[in-house]
Assembly symmetry: C2
Homo-oligomer: 350 residues x 2
């Protein structure tokens, strides 16, 4: 008994059942009753098909104009929780809905996105799930619009003009405001943001709101005073902890003037706390530290680490639901959801 499909076509089944291929096709597609085909014949066909392990060739189905039951997942890579759960999680959810998923790394590069979208079009995917952290170039938006169903996850607000996608906005601004408010209320006067310079493009959505918040509070919001740009490459093995720790040493974090630190990932926060402690600065007494992503393990630190949390389960639920909606009614007016992130206060923030 050969494993399955390759070789076994409708023709094979038809021959074995002594019927025409289209008859068999119709029966296998459940349209037998509708056409008044005898139950016996149908049962026989089903049995033969099952015995042979028949499975329709997906490529042929797609070519013949049916849906491909395929969705493209175009996501930026990233080793950070909870974003690193996204490919498998969304993939699994859609799989349960009867879809297969292509996984593509957008690399946050518009050219790659454009190329990937073309490739997905070529493969006739039924929908696209697209995660974008930066403003969407017009060409990319245009390319997205060609798909029957698309769900867009964005870390920045999206102008809805002329956009066929359902948008889910992961809003970080309120959380950052809360952090700065907290800093001020607990007597901090010189907050600083720690961020990777090479990653600066993707961190604009954090730096901007942070400095806005400082300004609003009447604190120094100058670039020199508030940004600690970590000058290091993206580690090949995604060991951001080491990258940050090394950078703190190389760039002498301790020489800067600050009493509060907002780190753009929890790995940086862990590294900062350890480094500062070694240099004799107490956390949170001398320096308040807040991370980002709310990686579960940071709860176990001493001190436990404050962070920004993305309610990812809720967001994933939303993505799944919206995708299914769009798939069902591609012509419905696309909607807009907001999924605000939250500041989680813990010991390190004082």
């Amino acid at each position: 008994m050969k494993a399955s499909a390759p070789g076994i076509t409708l023709k094979t089944v038809a021959a074995k059942a002594g019927l025409g291929r289209s008859t068999v096709g119709l029966i296998l597609n459940g349209r037998g009753d509708e056409l008044g085909i005898p139950a016996e014949t149908q049962a026989k066909v089903h049995k033969v098909a099952a015995n042979l392990g028949y499975r329709p060739n997906s490529l042929a189905l797609g070519l013949a104009g049916k849906k491909t039951q395929t969705i493209g997942l175009i996501l930026p890579s990233g080793p950070f929780y909870p974003q690193n759960l996204m490919p498998q999680d969304i993939s699994l959810r859609l799989h349960r809905r009867g879809y297969q998923t292509y996984l593509v790394d957008s690399l946050q590069d518009p050219d790659v996105m454009l190329e990937s979208l073309k490739e997905m079009a070529t493969r006739r995917v039924d929908g696209i799930c697209f995660h974008m952290k930066l403003p969407i170039p017009p060409k990319v938006r245009e390319a997205l619009n060609q798909f029957p169903a698309t769900v867009l996850i964005s870390n920045i607000p999206i102008p809805r003009t002329d956009f066929r996608a359902h948008v889910i906005y992961l809003d970080m601004v309120p959380a950052i405001d809360d952090i700065v408010d907290h800093f001020v209320q607990t007597g901090r006067r010189r907050p600083m943001i720690v961020t990777s310079v090479n990653d600066a493009m993707t961190n604009l959505e954090k730096i901007g709101p942070f400095r806005d918040a400082l300004r609003r509070q009447g604190l120094d919001a100058s670039e020199e005073g508030t940004i600690f740009g970590v000058n290091a490459g993206i580690p090949r093995d995604s060991d951001y902890y080491t990258v940050f720790r090394d950078a703190f040493e190389a760039q002498r974090l301790e020489d800067r003037d600050f009493d509060a630190l907002f780190c753009t990932c929890d790995e940086a926060a862990v590294a900062a706390i350890r480094y500062l402690t070694e240099k004799g600065r107490r956390v949170p007494d001398d320096v308040a530290v807040v991370g980002l992503n709310n990686t579960p393990m940071i709860q176990g630190y001493k001190p436990s680490i404050a962070s920004i949390s993305w309610n990812h389960v809720e967001a994933f639920d939303l993505i799944e639901a919206r995708m299914v909606e769009r798939l069902k009614k591609p012509d419905a007016v696309p909607g807009y959801d907001e999924a605000p992130l939250k500041f989680i206060r813990r010991e390190s923030a004082g």
Copy 2:
């Protein structure tokens, strides 16, 4: 200028160029010179195609018997570093090699695997990258064998009999031996393994070698004495830290008799250290603790946490290389690689 493919077919290009479709097809496939088609004609066709943004329909290509340039990634989901890097990483590597990838969560369930493999066959993938932590059921092996190229990543040794896949074995045994040796050499006498009971299936590859090592050292290797089974479900948001911490409280870890702990994930190690410390047990003085996965952040703990490390960059390199090899020469005799994990000693282990 419409975005791309849908609508633009070979026919369109042929019409615009004033030629037959097959001629155009041949030219676009670079067989123009070979057939003695005038350079001018060829240039013109290429230009027309480019202007129209022509892209061959992948489904049609596949149907017509060409390779699909598609690979199925059948992986167990998992929130743990570095396994959580795998989907995106492998996907990106293969993408750079000109392939698109289907991502499928095997859920470590043979039925799901079988079903997924059939689905992949139906889609005529060129190859399969399969990660398996447990013994491979015969049916799954058989199903795997139907693909022209498959690379199998396994956490347990694989009998090579009659197997068309290239195998990459992630060997954890030496690392576990090293841990137990270390425990003994530093005077520990009652080591215990902490593992999720619901996950027990996937943890056999750790429990077995651990008890074997204890036995070899002449220590108690009884099930009751050496296994602390965490009785909790898999958290929906993958927050294993909380699951373990709560379980330690509920099951009163402190009542067990042990002086060394091998935790089957770093999250458990973090939780254990914090919990034990709160109960007045010092780490490593009273209890040695070792985690698993070498999550970067654990370096920043106080004490820094010992762990088992998988050289994942090397492993990913291997996966990519082997997959490309198999894709090129499906008929070559499949090979076998070993990628042993390593014990990384840090403060928590004493």
